[in-house]
């Protein structure tokens, strides 16, 4: 049922990274060749896909909220649709991101602010859609892992 828990894990990851203040040790990269470039966006799906995530939040004082996230991607169109649902299946948030911008179809309090819609869709886009520009540089670590800044 839960096909991916990637979204919440990655969001947590970004949060941790954003408050971190210790610079990671500098890595020495072997310059990549043009043949390595396609590997930079190989992690992104090329075909249309669907994903269901579990989102859990705990607030100070013991309150909690459990939601289901549903996301559908059409990479060739650079289009994403995201829904947030309660465990009972009520849709709290439904929005689509395309090259024309963000269209919010449904947004229930507290998910009804434009800032929430923009933030969520930008986060989901960052996670699931390949960048629309080529990396400015790329290289390989000693173990062959490719790095695309």
């Amino acid at each position: 049922m839960i096909r991916s828990k990637g979204l919440d894990t990655c969001l947590l990851g970004f949060l941790v990274l954003s408050i971190g203040c210790v610079s990671p040790p500098k890595k020495t990269l072997v310059p990549g060749s043009p043949d390595d470039l396609p590997r930079c966006d190989a992690i992104f799906h090329r075909e249309p896909w669907e994903s269901v995530h579990r989102i859990e939040a705990t607030v100070r004082g013991g309150g909690s909220s459990s939601l289901l996230g549903v996301t559908k991607g059409e990479p060739s169109e650079h289009r994403l649709q995201s829904l947030l649902l309660t465990p009972e299946g009520f849709i709290l948030f439904d929005a689509e991101l395309s090259e024309g911008g963000i269209a919010v179809r449904k947004a229930v309090v507290p998910f009804d602010s434009p800032a929430f819609a923009r933030g969520l869709m930008e986060d989901v886009s960052l996670l699931f859609l390949p960048p629309q520009v080529k990396p400015i540089a790329w290289g390989k670590e000693t173990d062959g892992t490719i790095i695309c800044p």
């Binding site: 669907e50 859990e56 705990t58 309150g63 909690s64 909220s65 829904l83 299946g89 009520f90 849709i91």
Partner: protein, 203 residues
């Protein structure tokens, strides 16, 4: 002209008798639920969304005791429970190994939903103020609930399909504007079995 008159009379008469039959049916429908004091069941919920090729499946169980004690619990994919005892409604989510109270601002909406469900388990379909009701004797017998202004922004239609077993609901279909729908199938239904009252108080 005569033909149109005949058809008009036929339709009007048909509607008149349908209305009478409907009033009788409501009474006999309530009669089939008259002896129900408690319901225990498992359910499979299928949530059809336009963006998903397959429905989202949720499984759970429910306990009901007249007139308004209800436990509606989801076991998968998210474990959560809605508890109603009288006018008190509580929602809990299970994660990180423990039950945590819900912080959603939707307890009032949940109270309305649970009140509707409690009425259905007692056959009091015609007492809903938010919906107009139509009864079709079938088989299978079904009650169609059409929402009034306001609720119709979220729900287009609810269809409650009744079992041949008196007082048992087989399935509930909920249609929403925009094409999404939810189907809830009840199974292993036990009528008037006993269970501790704390199922309505503690997650």
């Amino acid at each position: 002209m005569k033909r149109f008159f005949f058809i008009t009379v036929l339709i009007t008469t048909g509607l008149f008798f349908a209305e009478i039959a409907s009033a009788q049916d409501w009474a006999s429908l309530k009669e089939t639920f008259r002896n129900i004091r408690s319901v225990k069941a498992e359910f499979l919920q299928k949530r059809y969304l336009k963006i998903l090729t397959k429905p989202l499946l949720s499984e759970g169980k429910l306990f009901f005791y007249i007139p308004n004690s209800l436990r509606w619990e989801y076991l998968t994919p998210l474990r959560s429970v809605m508890l109603q005892k009288g006018s008190t409604v509580q929602i809990y989510n299970f994660f990180e190994g423990e039950w945590k109270p819900e912080m959603r601002e939707s307890v009032e909406a949940t109270r309305m939903v649970l009140t509707e469900i409690s009425q259905w388990f007692q056959g009091r379909f015609d007492e809903s103020t938010a919906f107009k009701q139509l009864y079709s004797p079938g088989p299978p017998a079904r009650v169609t609930m059409v929402p009034g202004e306001g609720v119709n922004r979220f729900i287009q239609r609810i269809e409650i399909v009744l079992s041949v077993k008196p007082g048992v609901i087989d399935r509930v279909e909920i249609e929403e504007p925009g094409g999404s729908r939810t189907s809830i199938e009840f199974r292993n239904v036990e009528i008037n079995s006993s269970f501790p009252s704390e199922v309505f108080e503690k997650p």
